[in-house]
Amino acid sequence: MRARRTVLDEHRVEQAIGLLLRTGVLLAAVIVCAGAALYLVRHGGERIDYRVFRGERADLRSVRGIFAGALALQGRDVIQLGLLVLLATPVARVVFSVGAFALQRDWLYVGVTLAVLTVLLWSLAGGAL
């Protein structure tokens, strides 16, 4: 009886993770499309060159800068906001997994998942090896 309940719980967790991933990707794609429309309407005729690497402006590198630019409806910042949502999707999945393992009282894997989450957040905070 108990084994069956665990299987059912795991199945429900998997269903929820599937929904979470799908929603994240869809939301990101919608925001990127909106940003693309703004960007192409305003800058579509300008010339561009990606042959030389320069690095992005500081406001396109930080979460705060991206939010500020997106609120001002800057096309490139809106696209970058969509990319942030996309980036947040796997992170949300890991957060969700911490909860799922905790519900199963699987403390070993709560620890493992928290370790993965720490690396992810550290990289997003600008950490590097």
């Binding site: 795991e10 991933l21 990606y50 690497f53 696209i79 796997p90 992170v91 997994s97 993965v116």
Partner: protein, 278 residues
């Protein structure tokens, strides 16, 4: 080139790359980076940043379908993600110190390796396999839905798999790819998992690995919205179409054609890197 013209060309090219990536099972990143660098002359750092974004999109999109089928092993995936994410941050850091030519040469070598791996004959483990103390203690054994009810399987050689996963992470961060080929190798050849479990668990891990690299890329200013936008939308669309076509096409000859194509791209990348053209 104007922004509008460039966006349309990159979008169409990325759609084709996503389609090929899904059909060959190698993923869109592996095809889109050579396309951007060799054909359109984009700096490989920008190309890798945009490819990473597309890898997260396709992996999450595909994983949404796979996870629900119940094939992927969440414990194995999460445990090995410790190795892949650390590797990815290391690889992404390395990318900021290595010149474009060096990255192109490593990319070419990885393409050649992927071509060879895709031709590898898969030998499915017969029976349950031996018990492994570490894998048992970590509760990695599992089951997947088979035709006659749940099929059980055992995992083994955890340290070997973790080492391969760290390598997969480094390559992912350095080159902007999902490293699916190396991940499947770790799960299937090292751990001895059933093939279907290996491929779905690998796919499930790719998004988290790529997110770890993409964090470093974003903070370093390697992710350009103008380039990432058409690449992400194109690869996502192409890979969805590719996954749909895949259920109607059975590989074999197709696989050989892709292997030759990928190997040719690999040689071209190495030549361009050595010649200083990238």
């Amino acid at each position: 080139m104007t922004v509008a013209g460039f966006s349309v060309i990159v979008f169409l090219g990325s759609t084709a790359a996503g389609f090929l990536g899904a059909l060959s099972g190698l993923g869109g990143g592996v095809v889109v980076v050579p396309l951007l660098t060799l054909l359109l002359g984009v700096d490989i750092h920008y190309a890798a940043g945009a490819a990473l974004i597309s890898v997260i999109a396709t992996s999450s999109g595909a994983a949404a379908a796979y996870v629900r089928e119940g094939y992927s092993n969440l414990r194995i995936g999460m445990l090995l993600e410790v190795a892949t994410t650390l590797g990815a941050v290391g690889g992404a850091t390395l990318a900021t110190h290595v010149g474009a030519s060096g990255i192109a040469i490593v990319f070419g070598l990885v393409l050649l390796g992927s071509a060879a791996l895709s031709m590898r004959r898969h030998v499915e483990q017969q029976g349950l396999g031996p018990t492994d103390r570490l894998a048992t203690r970590l509760r990695l054994d599992g089951s997947y839905p088979g035709p006659g009810g749940p099929q059980r399987y055992r995992a083994r050689r955890v340290p070997a798999a973790a080492s391969l996963m760290a390598l997969a992470g480094i390559l992912s961060g350095l080159l902007g790819i999902g490293s699916g080929a190396v991940k499947v190798l770790a799960l299937d050849a090292a751990m001895g998992l059933p093939f279907k479990v290996s491929t779905t668990t690998s796919n499930f891990m790719i998004g988290v690995t790529a997110a770890a690299s993409a964090g470093v890329y974003l903070r370093r200013g390697y992710i350009d919205p103008g380039l990432a936008m058409p690449v992400m939308l194109g690869v996502l669309l192409g890979s969805l179409a590719g996954a749909r076509a895949l259920s109607r096409l059975t590989s074999g000859v197709l696989r050989a054609v892709f292997a030759v194509l990928i190997a040719a791209l690999g040689i071209e990348m190495i030549a361009s890197g050595l010649g200083g053209r990238i």
